[in-house]
């Protein structure tokens, strides 16, 4: 039995030996080449030689490619929707991609092309304040033509004007704005009145989620330790982060969530969570027991912003889109569907004709009292961003 086996075994061994040898030689050779490892480094961001501007084909090529978040537009197939009306009115064919799920993830998807001064094949992207500020800072966004977005300049609500990262609206126009607060299921628990309650009350233990966006969640923790999220120091940041670590290691949190907390809240898997205003209002149509409240600490005010990336070839069409959505009656129609804060002045009056109850809703048209209770997260430098996001990720990953 062993004898006939031997030659076969030797021959496979020798062939494997050859392969192993070949592999080792190839690996060694490449490793020598690898002394050139530095060529795999990432160069500092440099301004594109042509300013990142591509030839605008808008007039001849009536197309527009948009990347936006989910649940952020009225039904596109309905001929009466703002979306369909825009296409009818302008003759622009819009490719609307719902491919932004997370700011950091979307950024990771496009950064290599942007850094290499190549087009990202989109004419408009919609990103949250801090990421918008970052992209503008890196020089990856095209300035808008003020003459083509007159409605934006005229109708933007005051609470979203003069923001430190783009005070003159050179680069962005808010698409929708919203508040971060607390949602709870009134069927299952008593009102959760403050963020402090949310992270300490025993009956909520293991049944709450916090948002995985750093600015949202850390804003509240900064408030809880007595700091101002709009202007805080490194030591206050450390305090807030320690508080988060403690809450997390106590097993008080079920998860850090992205867009997916509402279904669980409605089912009763969660009894309360940190939440975005518009999501909760939308979900209330199905489950009136879901409540959104302004915690005692206040609310985070943010917006998701339309921007034209470098080398977009339909900037004119993108500007036409922006201007269209800053008409009060169009904005009201959209707000009636998405239920976030409408960034357009005059839309509240237009809304009374569509649905008076929504026109009265302070989460869609916040009044001065509501706005006085909000904050916008501190504008961070590149280094701060890197430090804070890194430390935040270390905590949620630990």
């Amino acid at each position: 039995m062993t004898l006939p086996d031997q030659p076969a075994r030797r021959s496979t061994l020798s062939r494997r030996g050859v392969l192993k040898g070949g592999g080792a030689v190839a690996f060694g050779g490449l490793s020598l080449a690898a002394l050139k490892l530095p060529m795999f480094g990432i160069d500092p961001v440099q301004a594109c030689s042509d300013g990142g501007t591509a030839k605008d084909l808008s007039a001849s090529d009536r197309k527009l490619i948009i990347s936006n978040w989910t649940g952020y537009i009225d039904p596109r197939k309905n001929p009466n929707s703002t979306f369909a009306k825009f296409q009818d009115e302008t003759g622009i064919e819009v490719t609307y991609n719902v491919d932004v799920n997370d700011n950091a993830e979307f950024y990771a998807k496009i950064r290599d092309q942007a850094r290499a001064c190549e087009p990202i094949d989109r004419d408009m992207i919609v990103l949250t304040d801090w990421m918008a500020a970052k992209m503008i800072g890196l020089g990856w966004i095209q300035p808008l033509d003020p003459k083509k977005i007159k409605n934006v300049r005229k109708n933007l609500i005051p609470s979203l004007q003069d923001r430190p990262w783009d005070p003159d609206l050179t680069y962005h126009a808010p698409w929708q704005s919203g508040l971060t607060g607390i949602a709870y299921n009134a069927d299952l628990v008593d009102e959760v009145g403050s963020f402090e309650d949310l992270i300490t009350r025993d009956d909520l233990k293991g049944k709450i989620t916090l948002l995985s966006e750093m600015n949202d969640t850390m804003g509240f923790f900064l408030k809880v330790v007595g700091a101002d999220p709009a202007d805080f120091t490194d030591s206050e940041w450390e305090d807030a982060l320690d508080r988060l670590k403690q809450v997390k290691s106590d097993g008080h949190l079920r998860q850090f969530s992205g867009n997916n907390y509402l279904q669980q809240l409605s089912q009763g898997v969660l009894v309360a969570c940190e939440a975005w205003s518009g999501d909760v209002i939308q979900a209330q149509y199905d489950n009136p027991n879901l409540k959104f409240i302004a915690p005692e600490e206040g609310l985070a005010l943010w917006s998701d912003n339309m921007m034209v990336p470098n080398y977009a070839t339909h900037q004119g069409n993108a500007e036409a889109w922006m201007d269209y959505y800053y008409r009060p009656e169009v904005a009201a129609k959209l707000a009636a569907w998405v239920n976030y804060i409408c960034p357009v002045q005059g839309a509240q009056e237009a809304m009374t004709k569509i649905d008076p109850s929504l026109a009265e809703n302070p989460l869609i048209f916040p009044d001065a009292e509501m706005l006085a209770n909000t904050w916008a997260f501190m504008s961070l430098t590149d280094e701060q961003q890197q430090k804070y996001e890194g430390e935040w990720a270390d905590v949620i990953a630990s």
């Binding site: 530095p38 500092p44 293991g206």
Partner: protein, 294 residues
């Protein structure tokens, strides 16, 4: 194959050798482009200057301390991933062996149908199947209710968002990768050998360990590898079925690469995970002694 080579004349053997290299060329080129170059890019990234940022870029400064830093910060998650992967593999091995044995020896004319049924879960998306476990294991679902009723679980205990749910999800998702190689091995076993063992007065248990188990070892090895390696790197199950304290290394790598913007830590962790797995696989294969597989 080896026997026929020995029998063939020498010159045709040489020509066949040359043909083999020509036939290997496409695979070698593909591996070179899509494995070796990305691999070096990963090595380079793991040696970046940790002070880099988007604006300043990242230089390869041969900063080997990145590895130490990555281990110091995330040894817990590395260990947890290996434990989850190991536990899931063990569960799959026990369940899968019984299943594969039954299909191979006891299923008669249902054999093909049963094999198809093993693969059927692949017809729907991995994500959807994992999400549906969220419903099954939910705190007020019937599974938890029933277990609470018979006092296996206390009133405040839960299944979803626990280590148990994560391991179970992994075992569920990777079971077919265990069953198929096991089946292939067990199905090839000549039943007459098992009959012979009982003719020689061995009881069924001894017969199993002396005959069936050794002959099925190639299946066991490839099955465990096919299960353990992806289960260790998987983070969907931990993300969907776990809680904030069940973070696995895959999730850490993803967070470090995107949100935290630390390509050096992400790359160092990937390299560490790769080396750990390769080392464990080599030791394992040496010990089990089925080198034919590699």
């Amino acid at each position: 194959m080896a026997e026929s080579r020995v029998a063939a004349p020498a010159d045709s053997g040489r020509r066949r050798g040359l043909t083999a290299y020509v036939l290997m060329a496409p695979a070698v080129i593909v591996l070179g482009l899509f494995f070796v170059i990305p691999f070096y890019s990963l090595v380079a990234a793991s040696l970046y200057d940790p002070g880099g940022s988007d604006k300043a870029g990242w230089d390869v400064t041969y900063h080997f301390a990145n590895y130490w830093e990555a281990i110091k910060l995330y040894k817990g998650q590395l260990l947890r991933s290996l434990l989850y992967g190991g536990a899931a593999t063990l569960i799959c091995l026990v369940l899968g062996y019984v299943l594969a044995y039954a299909i191979a020896f006891k299923s008669g004319r249902w054999k093909s149908l049963l094999l198809v049924l093993v693969i059927v879960p692949f017809f729907t998306s991995f994500l959807v199947r994992t999400l549906s476990w969220q419903l099954i294991l939910a705190d007020d679902g019937w599974v938890v209710d029933a277990l609470q009723f018979v006092h296996i679980l206390g009133q405040d205990d839960k299944l979803l968002a626990t280590d148990f749910a994560v391991i179970m999800g992994l075992a569920y998702n990777f079971l077919p990768f265990m069953v198929l190689p096991l089946f292939a091995s067990i199905d090839k076993i000549d039943p007459r050998l098992i009959e012979a063992s009982s003719d020689l007065y061995s009881n069924p248990i001894t017969g199993f360990f002396k005959v069936t188990w050794p002959l099925s070892l190639p299946g066991v090895v490839s099955g465990t590898l096919l299960t353990f390696i992806p289960a260790t790197g998987d983070y969907i199950n931990a993300e969907l079925l776990g809680n904030t304290e069940t973070t696995v290394i895959g999730k850490v790598i993803q967070l470090q690469a995107t949100n935290a913007n630390h390509p050096h830590i992400a790359a160092a962790l990937s390299m560490i995970l790769m080396f750990l797995i390769v080392a464990m696989v080599l030791v394992y294969v040496r010990r089990v002694g089925t080198e034919e597989l590699l």
